[in-house]
């Protein structure tokens, strides 16, 4: 069934086309973000409704409105003297001949001719554009107001760094869970999730409802949960695969410079860190904290008393973190890497240590070391020209990304580097954030695919949409998304921007849909024990 909505009456490639609604189509049934198909004379165009407006043929109608209490008059005038118009931005086109159909939809370089019919897209249209669920494509949700499965090519997605944005409470976490499951099932990539709020590993919270299952519960064998806070994990009944402890000697000057803001360090103090590290070597934190004043500084170091105090205060904050030890017996990085190499996804829970200092310190330290490993392995593989030696693609998921990727620190953190160098070393980022405007624009521009839930701050919207074609149109779609469970996806992994409703997550049926049958039966059996 293809329902005709109206005809194209004007437009331009830059601004999109104006569609005059037929009298049979009610303007109140239209919604921005809906996916429509335009049947041109030779080609079919796919686009999205980006604006809806009302028109009259005679201005006097708006000055002296007719008596619409009479249904007859209202019916006659609807669609003739008074009509609705849609603004549609076409993004893809497919030619009519066989070669073009094989080639698939291409980006638009022209617009449909006058009076081309505009229809709501059918399931076939959506499948033609986004593909069907297969070994690479994962069902992530339904396009707005449609009962069609919207599929995302995850193999393509993980080749670039990606971002998930949205105000708090708009469903970022649920969306991330869906994507993580997708990556786990449909791509070769493994995930390392820095789970600040303990949402992904074992169980997650849901507003006004019972907790939802985390990755570990659904994919027992393919997910490992590490924790910084063993006690807390035990309380929550999470079976962990490892505890992360960090030794003083593992902290390097770069880790401290990142924390400059959160630890309230001065520029001079950060400078001094490097000097101290050069002097003291691996044990520099302990040695620095042991200093009783500037006069005890070793020969050759000129650090001002105030700077030293400032630095010591900052380092003391780090030392007070319970998971920091003078020397850590086991190597967390190595354990995590072993899991990743086996293709097991790793979720690192932060337990009670949810403050941003901990998060930045740990995420940055671990990522840096893991990235270094990846870098050397990829370089070795390249030198030997053996594709098989290359490590599995790794996706690092970070929350509160603006703290790592803001313009001041983006150049220093490993995340800035990963985002910019992209997949050269098989490591990409999945950035989750509620203040995208806080993220360095250079990093934002390198993100392949962006998925955004509702944003209402203008600066945030602008930064998410920076560099996207048709951003003014997308802006209106983005600003009108529902506060919950609606998102807009655009970028590398999707042929055209599309607003969608993420698939359900949290009901028994949804778990069965996500997880292979075997895991669920195991789960049920466990209930009987």
């Amino acid at each position: 069934m293809t329902e005709r909505l109206g005809i194209v009456v004007s437009g331009s490639l830059n601004k999109g086309v104006e569609v005059r609604l037929d009298s049979s189509a009610s303007i109140e049934d239209m919604a921005v973000g809906r996916f429509v198909t335009i049947e041109g004379a030779k080609r079919r165009f796919f686009g999205m409704i980006t604006d809806v407006s009302l028109g009259v043929t005679d201005q006097r109608l708006s000055l002296t409105p007719p008596d619409v209490s009479d249904p007859f008059i209202a019916e006659v005038l609807a669609g003739t003297s008074t009509f609705g118009t849609l603004h549609v931005s076409p993004s893809l086109v497919i030619g009519g001949d066989a070669a073009a159909i094989l080639e698939g939809p291409q980006p638009v370089k022209t617009i449909p001719s006058h009076f081309s019919a505009v229809k709501l897209s059918t399931q076939e249209d959506v499948e033609l554009v986004f593909g069907t669920e297969d070994e690479k494509r994962f069902f992530i949700g339904n396009p707005l107001d449609m009962e069609v499965k919207l599929c995302l090519n995850l193999e393509e997605l993980v080749k670039r760094s990606n971002g998930i944005f949205g105000k708090s409470g708009t469903g970022k976490t649920f969306l991330t869970r869906i994507l993580l499951i997708g990556m786990l099932q449909k791509s070769r990539a493994v995930n390392l999730v820095f789970d600040m709020h303990n949402e992904y590993g074992w169980a997650g919270t849901r507003e006004g409802g019972p907790p939802v299952k985390g990755l570990k519960q659904l994919f027992q064998s393919r997910v490992a949960v590490f924790t910084l806070d063993e006690e807390n994990s035990r309380h929550r009944g999470v079976s962990t695969d490892g505890v992360v402890r960090i030794g003083y000697d593992e902290i390097e000057p770069d880790d401290i410079s990142l924390l400059r803001q959160t630890l309230n360090l001065t520029d001079l103090a950060v400078e001094a860190v490097h000097q101290l590290f050069r002097k003291f070597g691996k044990n520099w934190i302990q040695d620095t904290l042991d200093l009783k004043g500037a006069e005890e500084l070793p020969e050759g170091l000129s650090i001002h008393e105030g700077t030293l105090l400032n630095l010591q205060r900052g380092l003391a904050t780090i030392r007070r973190l319970p998971f920091i030890e003078p020397h850590s017996p086991d190597n967390a990085v190595k354990a995590i890497l072993e899991h990743l190499d086996r293709g097991t996804n790793v979720v690192l829970e932060f337990g009670r240590y949810r403050d941003i200092t901990t998060y930045i310190l740990v995420a940055n330290m671990l990522s840096r070391r893991i990235y270094a490993q990846y870098q050397s392995r990829v370089e070795k593989a390249d030198a030997a020209a053996k594709e098989s030696l290359k490590p599995r693609p790794l996706v690092i998921t970070i929350e509160e990304a603006h703290k790592f990727l803001n313009p001041e620190v983006a150049s220093q953190t490993i995340f800035g580097k990963i985002a910019r160098e992209m997949r050269k070393y098989n490591v990409t980022l999945l950035v989750i954030d509620q203040r995208p405007s806080g993220i360095d624009s250079e990093v934002m521009s390198q993100m392949g695919t962006k998925i955004t839930c509702l944003l209402d701050n203008d600066r945030d919207i602008d930064s998410v949409l920076a560099g996207v074609s048709g951003r003014n149109e997308l802006k209106s779609v983005l600003a009108k998304l529902a506060a919950k469970q609606q998102a807009l996806i655009f970028g590398h992994a999707v042929p055209m921007p599309v607003a969608f409703q993420p698939r359900e997550y949290g009901s028994a049926q949804s778990y069965r849909d996500f997880a292979p049958q075997k895991d669920v039966t195991e789960d049920i059996e466990k209930l009987w024990d």
Partner: protein, 197 residues
């Protein structure tokens, strides 16, 4: 086919219309109704746009005769010659024609012929004609002895009677009018007000 009713004979004809005289006094078809004239090879369709009853001789005006009569009928009964001294005529606006099986809603190549018989159209013919609304444009642009809105409304009301779903027909016609009269809102409102059920 329903019985075809003969209503008069053409006494004056032009490309855009014709005048017919009724055989019986006062037996003219109603305003807005459809009539046809011509033979089976080429029929002209007209919409009754005016009617009048006058004295047979233009110079002689009728005089009042009923002072001593009880009723109107009594006047005609006591002066039977009246029916012959007066005549009823009606004027039809040509809105289309049929050549063979094809129906055209534009002016015919030839006007009607004098003394051509004029018939009332059957409901089936009216329904067939009402499948297209191109004739509305002819009415709207014609120089008429009656106000245009009145004739449009009357003809649509008449035509709608031939349709099972009168309302759907009138809505469709209204939409056509809304397009034709997009620059003349007052006229549109006047017509819509006259055709609503």
């Amino acid at each position: 086919m329903a019985e075809v009713q003969r209503v008069g004979e053409v006494i004056e004809a032009s490309t855009t219309g014709f005048v017919a005289q009724c055989y019986e006094l006062y037996q003219m078809p109603p305003l807005g109704s459809m009539v046809k004239t011509g033979d089976s090879s080429a029929e002209l369709y007209g919409i009754v746009c005016n009617a009048e009853t006058t004295s047979l001789e233009p110079g002689r005006r009728p005089i009042a005769r009923g002072k001593d009569e009880k009723s109107e009928e009594a006047i005609y009964r006591s002066s039977p010659q009246l029916a012959k001294l007066l005549r009823s005529e009606f004027e039809a606006l040509v809105v289309g024609h049929r050549e063979g099986d094809r129906l055209y809603q534009h002016l015919p190549p030839q006007p009607a012929r004098i003394h051509g018989f004029v018939y009332q159209c059957t409901p089936d013919e009216v329904k067939d004609f009402g499948k297209s609304f191109d004739f509305l444009n002819i009415i709207l642009n014609a120089h008429l002895p009656v106000p245009t809105e009145e004739l449009v409304a009357a003809s649509l009301r008449r035509m709608s009677q031939a349709h099972e779903d009168r309302r759907a027909f009138l809505v469709a016609a209204g939409k056509e009018l809304a397009i034709l009269l997009s620059g003349n809102l007052n006229q549109l409102n006047a017509i819509l007000g006259r055709i609503k059920l």
